[in-house]
């Protein structure tokens, strides 16, 4: 009886041994996609795909990449078109970044992002970048590489000059509607790309471009700043060069007599300057407060973009009051926001 069972199992196992088909599963027969750029031109999606070129012999240094293009009425059609042109089945599991071109960010990013969220091969921690130029130009820049794009994403943590986001973060912001999605902004000059601030979205369309200082201020206000450095001119002449670390922020909301947010920013600073510690500390404190307040004024009041998690805080901490609001977004825009900064200078 046992032998019959064992033989039966072996036969079943052998018959189901279809997965090891040598052709289908060979890595070299697959298009290993490293990054995708998406443009929208005349209601048609244009995809530029960067893939790992395994045809060349193994060498030293960076991975050699090649490009392929495709277009279609939907992202899926465009990707299928790209794959058909190369004759290989795409492997999206290694895709590290997506660049949203200028045309796309103006017209709406929810449809392509929905596709990437739903399709199982794309991982939710893919870095999303925006660009005011076309994604194709960005992808074909001279210095484009996966490592560079990863470095761009890490800029948030190292300098605070941009705000990087992953697919799940952007999509969560779009679907909840309680916060504005933000992505890193890639600029191109002399065929070379560099990170230059961030793009904030109003709904799923680009609403505003954040400068480096605005990015820094936003990170400080949200409590997401890991390491920030800045330089500004002192009133007495000369520059003050400082860096911030261990940044924390706390948002308190009070709803008696209208909505009022108190954002307390607490951080350690290291500075280089000729002045005394007390003066430096005071100047840095003033600088940060000014930056934060002007960023809030620009983005929240003028552009109506809540990138500071104010509405989310209201929703989370005072749901009862939130429920009573007809237009919470409007209420937050019209709210009073106070910034309190507390800096501890270490020299």
């Amino acid at each position: 009886m046992k032998r019959i069972l064992a033989v039966g199992l072996v036969i079943i196992f052998s018959l189901s041994a279809v997965g090891c088909s040598p052709i289908e599963n060979n890595l070299d027969k697959r298009l290993i996609i490293q990054g995708i750029g998406i443009d929208l031109e005349a209601d048609e999606y244009k995809i530029t795909v960067m893939y790992m070129d395994t045809a060349d012999p193994v060498g030293e240094g960076d991975v050699k990449s090649s490009f392929a293009e495709g277009s279609g009425l939907s992202v899926l059609d465009a990707l299928t078109d790209t794959a058909n042109k190369t004759g290989r089945e795409p492997l999206y599991g290694q895709c590290a970044f997506i660049v949203l071109g200028g045309g796309l960010i103006k017209n709406g990013i929810s449809e392509p992002l929905e596709f990437f969220t739903d399709y199982y091969e794309f991982h939710p921690n893919i870095n999303i970048f925006s660009s005011e130029s076309s994604a194709d130009k960005v992808m074909r820049a001279e210095n484009m590489s996966v490592r560079l794009m990863q470095d761009f994403a890490d800029t948030e943590a190292s300098t605070g000059k941009t705000i990087s986001s992953t697919l799940n973060e952007v999509y969560a912001a779009l679907s909840s509607g309680r916060t504005s999605a933000v992505t890193s902004l890639i600029d191109i000059k002399d065929k070379k790309i560099f990170v230059n601030g961030a793009a904030a979205f109003d709904g799923d369309k680009a609403g505003a471009i954040l400068s480096s200082e605005q990015c820094m201020a936003t990170l400080l206000l949200c409590g997401d700043a890991k390491s920030v450095w800045d330089i500004f001119q002192s009133d007495e002449g000369g520059n003050i060069n400082y860096s911030l670390s261990g940044c924390k922020s706390k948002i308190n909301v009070s709803t008696s007599g209208g909505i009022e947010f108190d954002i307390a920013v607490n951080t350690h600073a290291s500075a280089y300057g000729t002045e005394s510690s007390a003066r430096l500390e005071s100047k840095i404190k003033s600088r940060i407060k000014t930056l934060c307040e002007s960023t809030i004024e620009q983005l929240l009041k003028k552009k109506r973009l809540d990138v500071f998690n104010l509405e989310r805080t209201l929703y989370s901490k005072d749901y009862g009051y939130y429920k009573t609001l007809e237009n919470p977004k409007q209420a937050v825009v019209l709210s009073r926001v106070n910034v309190i900064t507390d800096i501890e200078l270490q020299r």
Binding site: T117, Y120, Y319
Partner: protein, 346 residues
């Protein structure tokens, strides 16, 4: 003649925790049922209901399995066999759907369920002692994987992602509670495992329920804090949560975690097949009980393989109302009938 192959109460605890826990984790007790944060509240309610459901089962089990082996008891044993077969179908369907939706169909759709069924049947053939020992080791691996997951995702959690309690919809709470209670097929299984356990079974069962739902409670809050509203778009939020984990250069470890959870599903299926063989032994005979698991396994395999392609089968298997009714029937009605029968017999 006493039963020789006995497992300890702590082994029973590990077996039940793994068997039930992996269903919530791998296949998702909160699949597509609204805000995952509300699952935390559902867990509390489900705990109370589960403890209540386990009372008649434990009371019946104390008196041994004789009521199940005579007269009407044999019919009831047959009904239990069908119930556990239904549980097997649900587990395999959910696992196949999870696999199809998260890893695609590069691996043949039939290969994995087939190997899973064969392995689980082999495990059931080895007996409850082997399943319990194996389960204890696999539980350790699953817990270790979870701890690693939680550590890697701790930095990604944001308290603002947690929805306020007031925002929980009653319909979501009820749906999640129904799912959690409906999946408690391990409670009626205790009737058939009881005589094979040495030690304090009641304590073990109560502890299992408490630990299980505390874990579900904590897990749902943690997942909610990491995924936020992104979880609303995911059919398997636990898997989506695991996809965010990374350790330095090692990223995209979800497939590894899925493999570990697969081991947990194996233990569950092996246990269910073993319980089916015991039920059939009480209902019919020892010889037929040896054939019952492979026969049931083949049917379950067919259903599981067809489910990703046939929405009718999929909906039938994932119908939470039917599942709840079946579980409540097996936890309350059938034990009550047997208890009354025993009392009348005296």
């Amino acid at each position: 003649m006493g039963i020789r192959n006995k497992i300890s109460a702590s082994q029973l605890f590990c077996l039940l925790l793994l068997s039930r826990g992996v269903l919530s984790v791998a296949c998702g007790a909160f699949s597509g049922s609204g805000d995952i944060g509300s699952a935390a509240l559902s867990a509390v309610i489900a705990l109370i209901i589960s403890i209540l459901l386990s009372i008649p089962v434990l009371y019946l089990s104390k008196s041994g399995t004789e009521p199940l082996q005579n007269g009407a008891g044999r019919v009831i044993s047959g009904i239990y066999a069908l119930y556990f077969f239904y549980s097997v179908c649900i587990t395999m369907t959910m696992f196949t759907v999870l696999r199809a939706e998260t890893t695609g169909l590069r691996i043949s759709i039939i290969a994995v369920p087939l190997i899973m069924t064969a392995a689980a049947l082999y495990g059931s053939y080895k007996g409850i002692e082997a399943i319990a020992r194996c389960g204890a080791l696999i539980l350790f691996a699953v817990v270790a994987a979870f701890v690693l997951l939680c550590l890697s995702l701790l930095s990604k959690s944001d308290i603002l992602n947690l929805p306020p309690v007031g925002s929980y919809k009653l319909s979501d709470i009820i749906t999640n509670t129904v799912i959690m209670v409906g999946e408690q097929s391990c409670i009626p299984a205790i009737i058939f495992i009881y005589t094979h356990v040495k030690g304090n079974v009641k304590k073990s069962v109560v502890l299992w329920l408490i630990v299980l739902f505390v874990c579900i409670f904590a897990l749902s809050l943690f997942i909610s804090s990491v995924l936020g509203d992104y979880a609303l778009t995911q059919f398997f939020p636990v898997y989506s949560w695991a996809r965010l984990s990374s350790f330095g250069v090692l990223q995209r470890l979800d497939s590894l975690f899925l493999a570990v959870w697969t081991a947990g599903v194996f233990v569950r299926l092996a246990l269910l097949f073993w319980v089916i063989s015991v039920c059939v032994r009480y209902a019919i005979s020892n010889t037929v009980s040896k054939l019952a698991p492979p026969v049931f396994g083949i049917f379950a395999l067919i259903i599981a393989v067809a489910a990703p392609f046939n929405s009718a089968i999929r909906e039938a298997m994932l119908n939470t109302g039917v599942l709840l009714f079946a579980t409540a029937f097996c936890c309350l009605i059938l034990p009550a009938v047997l208890i009354i029968k025993r009392r009348l017999g005296k």
